[in-house]
């Protein structure tokens, strides 16, 4: 196990460094200076501005300065909101994005596991086909369609739920959660079904039934434990996907989270903000993948020895 952790870290750290280096030089090779659009900046002001953003040094020096700062969690000041640092903006947006992702994953797990178990208990009957068809639809319909459609139906036509905001009006967290979580609920349902089908045919389940345990106990206590392995292995990639999905969902519902900050920074060409959030998101995604690899390995001894 320890050698596996070391091995995975040995891949993750070069990837992280590569991402930081790549994004840094990509952003710095952008055509035109960051202050070109400002009207009539006097040379002294320009010099001061460049100094504040550390743009007077040679590029390599800037790179190593930046790398050092990033390692200490300092992403520098934002271009767009000069009084605020990128780290500050991240720390404002991150808790909201995490909350949204957490609700979405809980929604996905609850719905997905229940649907998957139901369809695995009576395979190839209507109890199987109906949830699996719905799951297929859930996977195929992207959030950019689901979000606006749910808003149109439940927010505007039926007027049941608020369509924007986060924590301002009761119920405004429901639509974003469903929009973000549906595709993952569908994946969970399919994975649960697959895992359960495999387990339910095994001898220890037959033994449990033969001993006269209630069907509920057989399914929930005995079968589910093994049947959920694929779902747990999926959680890491799912968390990474949820973070990327938050770009769209936060934009649709006007949620002031990190995903929307990112898209806005991309729009405003707020270069330091893009650079900082890109690196930050990449770190998060890489760590989640690393974590899920390790969890999967600890659950499945065959992966451990690879």
């Amino acid at each position: 196990m320890i050698s596996l952790i070391l091995k995975r870290l040995a891949t993750a750290i070069p990837v992280l460094l590569a991402v930081i280096t790549l994004t840094f030089f990509m952003v710095h090779s952008a055509p035109g200076g960051p202050f070109d659009e400002e009207k009539a900046v006097s040379p002294e002001v320009l010099l001061k501005l460049n100094e504040r953003y550390n743009l007077n040094e040679p590029l390599m020096v800037q790179y190593f300065d930046y790398l050092g700062n990033v390692l200490q969690g300092d992403f520098g000041p934002s271009f767009r909101y000069p009084s605020r640092s990128v780290t500050e903006l991240i720390s404002i947006g991150l808790p909201i994005t995490f909350e949204l992702a957490l609700y979405a994953i809980l929604f996905a797990l609850m719905l997905g596991i229940i649907a998957g178990v139901i369809s695995s208990l009576r395979p190839n009957t209507a109890y199987d086909y109906i949830p699996m068809t719905v799951a297929m639809a859930g996977i195929c319909i992207p959030s950019i369609i689901l979000g606006p459609s749910l808003t149109l139906i439940f927010g505007i036509w039926l007027n049941w739920l608020p369509v924007t905001g986060w924590g301002d009006i009761p119920g405004d967290k429901i639509l974003p959660t469903i929009t973000l979580g549906t595709a993952y609920a569908a994946y969970c349902a399919r994975l649960t079904r697959g895992g359960m089908l495999e387990i339910l045919n095994q001898d220890f389940i037959r033994t449990a039934r033969a001993k006269g345990l209630s069907e509920f106990r057989v399914v929930v206590v005995h079968a589910l434990r093994g049947g959920l392995t694929p779902v747990i292995a999926f959680l890491g990639p799912a968390m990474a996907g949820l973070l990327a999905g938050s770009f769209v969902v936060e934009t649709i519902f006007g949620i002031p989270g990190l995903g929307r900050f990112y898209v806005e920074a991309a729009f405003n060409r707020d270069y330091t903000m893009i650079l900082g959030t890109s690196i930050f998101f990449s770190c998060l995604i890489i760590s989640f993948n690393l974590l899920s690899d390790l969890v999967a390995a600890s659950l499945n001894p065959r992966l451990r020895d690879q």
């Binding site: 891949t11 992207p142 950019i144 979000g147 990327a244 770009f247 769209v248 934009t251």
Partner: protein
């Protein structure tokens, strides 16, 4: 040899057509491709034509699917949008296909240290969150369609190369490849005449499933305003426009969303159907 392979293809085709969902998907996608190719001939209006005095109206006989807030015909925009969406989907898949097949074949055939290094590179690239890099590319170098193809295609080849490699590795142990080697067939010929044609089944399946993924990625970027720009259109852009004005003008959201969802469904059905058709062991049951 030739007859047996064509009858295999024929059987696979029969199996594919007998799957109703795949058949429906195939017909829908073929129809869509035909419409997209002939769009300049059949589109009722020019794609940049706008009738500001008309403004947004619902479906009428003049504008079958209505017009948008600038008085542009929605059907026309959807037809032109389908060209871009499909083109991005298919061209980027081609890029991914070529890189992935070559990479995987060479790694699988060479084996040993070359294989280890090549697959290690794939492992490392897998770890990079490409959606972020693609967004960065679009921000920095402008919303350039060619760049978009290249960037997306260059990302999606990773899984392809893994599939091809495992196919090639099992194929190159088989007698006919050993025989070809013993007879002194050159490596290039073994790769292009024996290995790639035999590994192509799973590759086709995966490529079919890659097309909707890429179309989705394009739509995602256009929706965020980082992809295709007006007056050009793509489905992602139309859905974005629709989402902005759906409160008053529902049709602007509903029609592009329906067309796009149906396309994604169809391509997924075709992919699933192809997998079943090409591999008789995993039948529909």
């Amino acid at each position: 040899m030739n007859t047996s392979s064509s009858s295999l293809t024929k059987k696979a085709f029969e199996r594919l057509v007998s799957n109703k969902l795949s058949l429906f998907g195939g017909i829908y996608v073929l129809l869509l491709i035909t419409l997209a190719i002939f769009t300049p001939l059949i589109a009722p209006y020019d794609y940049a034509y706008q009738d500001l005095s008309l403004g947004p109206v619902g479906p009428t006989t003049d504008h079958l699917l209505g017009t948008d807030t600038l008085g542009r015909d929605l059907l026309t925009r959807m037809l032109y949008g389908s060209r871009i969406s499909l083109m991005v989907g298919f061209l980027a898949t081609m890029v991914a296909l070529v890189i992935g097949v070559l990479w995987g074949t060479i790694a699988g055939f060479a084996g040993g240290r070359v294989d280890a290094i090549m697959m290690r590179i794939v492992d490392v690239l897998y770890g990079i969150p490409f959606i972020i890099l693609i967004i960065l590319l679009m921000v920095i170098f402008g919303r350039n369609l060619v760049l978009l193809f290249m960037a997306i295609g260059a990302v999606e080849w990773l899984t392809m190369s893994r599939i091809v490699r495992s196919q090639v590795m099992s194929l190159s142990q088989q007698e006919f490849v050993l025989a070809a080697e013993a007879m002194g067939v050159s490596k290039k010929d073994i790769i292009f005449r024996h290995l790639i044609p035999n590994a192509i089944g799973p590759v086709i399946v995966y490529a079919t499933l890659t097309v909707p993924q890429i179309m989705l990625l394009e739509a995602f970027l256009s929706f965020l305003g980082l992809g295709v720009q007006a007056p050009m259109s793509s489905w992602g852009l139309l859905i974005r426009d629709g989402a902005v004005s759906m409160e008053e003008y529902w049709w602007l959201l509903v029609f592009p969303s329906l067309a796009f969802s149906l396309t994604l469904f169809s391509l997924n059905f075709i992919g699933d159907g192809l997998r079943d058709a090409l591999d008789p062991r995993t039948g529909p049951n």
